[in-house]
Structures are given as structure tokens and as C-alpha cells.
């Protein structure tokens, strides 16, 4: 599994730090904080799927104890993923090879960035499909579909809650990336596991990206090239 932005360095630094008598932030003895670490150092680091699964399972149960409904639970997971998306956006842009380092300036470029680079960073494979909504009432909705989201692999949702999709966490990450790029959007996760093509991939999830009105208007002003 590709590297996750959960910070492993904090543990290392805390063990190096000495107990100081004053209260406040403790710095490690060699004076190097996490901001001194080179950004490319964790580029090819991997994390075991089991550790992530336990952590994510705990996140879901933590949220479940504090909410009253499924919508709220999905919102909580979304909110948890949002800051990760913001930071990942900057990091991934920085890590791209220098010739091609461009910020996505229109919607299609942003969505392509998400479906290839972001997905490859998180799940070691690109997303399965990117579609534009064909509904004339909502021309600003795009759908990213993933046949088998990694985060849902070990989770079996009980029958009473079968509208819940824990990929709301990934939807939060995507929302953070969109907001960070200057294209405010609302991203939600929907499971389409039961259908003619759903049978092959029972966990198939579609992420619905709905851009806000000003983004669509701005897009209309851009010259078509």
C-alpha cells in the first residue's frame, strides 16, 4: 500500500527528546524538528494495511459513539479527511518532477490530478473511471468511481446501516484537495454495489464531486483551448 500521510516521525523525535523541567514544547536534543526532514524522504514508504485497518476501524467506532445518524457519521469521516487533502495537495504538487509541476487550472485538469496522482499515492493504482454527469439539471457534477476502495476492504456494514459508506473518509480527502486547489466542492461517497455491473465488484463506490456555482461560472469564462 502506498504511503499514507500519517506522521511516523513524531514518535522517533519524542523518544530522542529529553525531559526538560519547564512545561511547553519539547525539542529533540539535536535540534531537528519534523520541519527539518526533507519532504521526499517518505516518498516510497509503505504502511501495512493491517495497521491502517485497525486505525480506521477505531476512527469509525469513535465517530459512531458520538453521532445520532448515518448522515452525521459520514460527515464526521468527511471532516476527518479534509485537512489531509489540503496538505496532500501541496505535498504531491511539490513532489512531481520539475518540468510538469503545474497547478491544475481548470476542472478537468484537477480531476485528472485526483484520479491519477492522488489515487496512486494513496492506493497504488489510478481510479477506475471519471465521468461527467449527464443530467441537464446538474451540469457541475462529476463522478469518480472506484471498484474496490481499500479503506472498505475489511468493513462489513450491518444490514441496518447499509446506506453508510466508510469511503466518506476518502471523499473528505478529495474535498480537501479540491478546496486547496481553489475549486470549492462537496464530495460524497455512494455505494453502487448492487446492479448489473455491481455484481462483479460488490464494493464499487462512486464519489460524487459537486462544484460550487462560482467555480462553474469561472470555468465558463476561461478560453476554450
Amino acid at each position: 500500500m502506498a504511503s499514507q500521510p500519517i506522521k511516523p516521525s513524531l514518535a522517533g523525535n519524542a523518544s530522542q527528546s529529553q525531559r526538560t523541567s519547564q512545561l511547553g514544547l519539547r525539542y529533540p536534543s539535536n535540534g531537528k524538528t519534523i520541519y527539518h526532514r526533507p519532504l521526499n524522504r517518505s516518498r516510497t514508504q509503505e504502511l501495512s494495511q493491517a495497521s491502517f485497518a485497525y486505525l480506521f476501524g477505531e476512527m469509525v467506532s469513535y465517530a459512531q459513539k458520538r453521532v445520532t445518524g448515518i448522515q452525521d457519521l459520514e460527515k464526521r469521516l468527511n471532516v476527518q479527511g479534509h485537512p489531509i487533502g489540503l496538505k496532500l495537495f501541496d505535498l504531491l504538487l511539490y513532489r512531481e518532477p520539475p518540468r510538469t509541476q503545474t497547478r491544475p487550472l481548470n476542472i478537468i485538469a484537477l480531476l485528472q490530478f485526483i484520479t491519477t496522482i492522488l489515487w496512486r499515492h494513496l492506493f497504488s493504482r489510478p481510479a477506475d473511471a471519471l465521468e461527467k454527469s449527464s443530467n441537464p439539471d446538474t451540469p457541475d457534477e462529476y463522478m469518480i468511481s472506484d471498484n474496490d476502495p481499500l479503506v472498505n476492504q475489511y468493513i462489513s456494514v450491518p444490514k441496518e446501516m447499509n446506506q453508510l459508506n466508510c469511503a466518506a473518509f476518502v471523499a473528505g480527502i478529495v474535498e480537501g484537495v479540491c478546496d486547496g486547489a481553489g475549486f470549492p466542492a462537496r464530495v460524497t461517497a455512494h455505494s453502487v454495489g448492487k446492479g448489473e455491473e455491481g455484481e462483479l465488484w460488490p464494493g464499487k463506490t462512486v464519489f460524487l464531486v459537486k462544484f460550487q456555482q462560482e467555480v462553474v461560472e469561472r470555468e465558463a469564462y476561461l478560453p476554450k483551448n
Binding site: F56, G57, V60, S61, Q153, Y154, I155, S156
Partner: protein
């Protein structure tokens, strides 16, 4: 493989399923009683050993603490019990000549660790109702039975 039963730490039945046709179907109460009985018998056999092991402080030479029933064989079936470090017992009923029961047991335990333990909606020591677990267990054992 004929059937699988999982018993929790307190001796209560948390999972039961048959994988072959033509088995005697017992009613759910009977399965609960069976699980409780087995748990008790297992505990008793843990204490039953004729010789007192000499007390030794060296951990490498100290003999393993005795465990309860592990295998029960009759002419129609064979029952293997795998008890984990946390007190959960996996009872596997197979035909008497089934080879590699240990490997099968190991694989079932691995599936259990993955799909039951990592599921945030599963409460510990409660009956197992996880769809991912059922799907993969049935898939694995059907393939094994049809070979």
C-alpha cells in the same frame, strides 16, 4: 469440512455454520448447549494431568502449560479444537481422513482476524454477523470441499 463453531472467552456460542449437506441439523438451543458443554470439558481437561511437572525457573526448559482437548476422533468425523491466546476456541468438524487440518485452521483464523476483528461494527464476544467474513469463509471452504 463439515462444520465450524466459534466459542468466545466465556463459553458462549458466537458462530456456527455447516458446510456439507446431509448433516443432522440441530436446533439453535442445542448448539448453544453444545458450545457450553465443550467449553466446560475443555477447562476440566486442562487441569487433568497425572504428573506434576518439576518447577523450573528457566523459561526455555519449562514445559508448556497443559491445554485442554485438542482432537476428538470417531469413525464418522474428527473434531479439532484450536484455542487462541485470548481464549476464543475454533471447533472444526471434518471427515476423518481430511489432511492438513492445521493449515485449514490457520487460514480460518487468519480470515477471522481480518474480517471480524478489523470490522468496526463488530463488538467483541458477541455473535459474528459480518458479511465479509461469511463471504470469504464460504468461498474458501466450498473450494476445499469440492476438491
Amino acid at each position: 469440512v463439515y462444520a465450524l463453531i466459534i466459542i468466545n472467552k466465556a463459553g458462549g456460542l458466537i458462530y456456527q455454520r455447516d458446510f456439507a449437506d446431509g448433516l443432522n441439523k440441530l436446533n439453535i438451543n442445542d448448539y448453544l448447549v453444545l458450545a457450553g458443554t465443550f467449553h466446560g470439558v475443555h477447562a476440566i481437561t486442562t487441569r487433568l494431568h497425572p504428573l506434576h511437572p518439576p518447577p523450573s525457573l528457566d523459561p526455555s526448559t519449562r514445559p508448556d502449560p497443559p491445554s485442554g482437548i485438542e482432537v476428538l476422533e470417531t469413525e464418522n468425523f474428527r473434531l479439532q479444537c484450536f484455542s487462541t491466546l485470548t481464549g476464543t476456541k475454533f471447533l472444526l468438524f471434518t471427515e476423518p481422513q481430511q489432511p492438513n487440518v492445521d493449515k485449514i485452521m490457520g487460514k480460518i483464523y487468519e480470515l477471522y482476524g481480518d474480517y471480524v476483528m478489523k470490522n468496526p461494527f463488530y463488538q467483541l464476544e458477541m455473535p459474528v454477523r459480518c458479511e465479509g467474513w461469511e463471504r470469504r469463509l464460504v468461498g474458501y471452504l466450498r473450494v476445499l470441499n469440492s476438491r
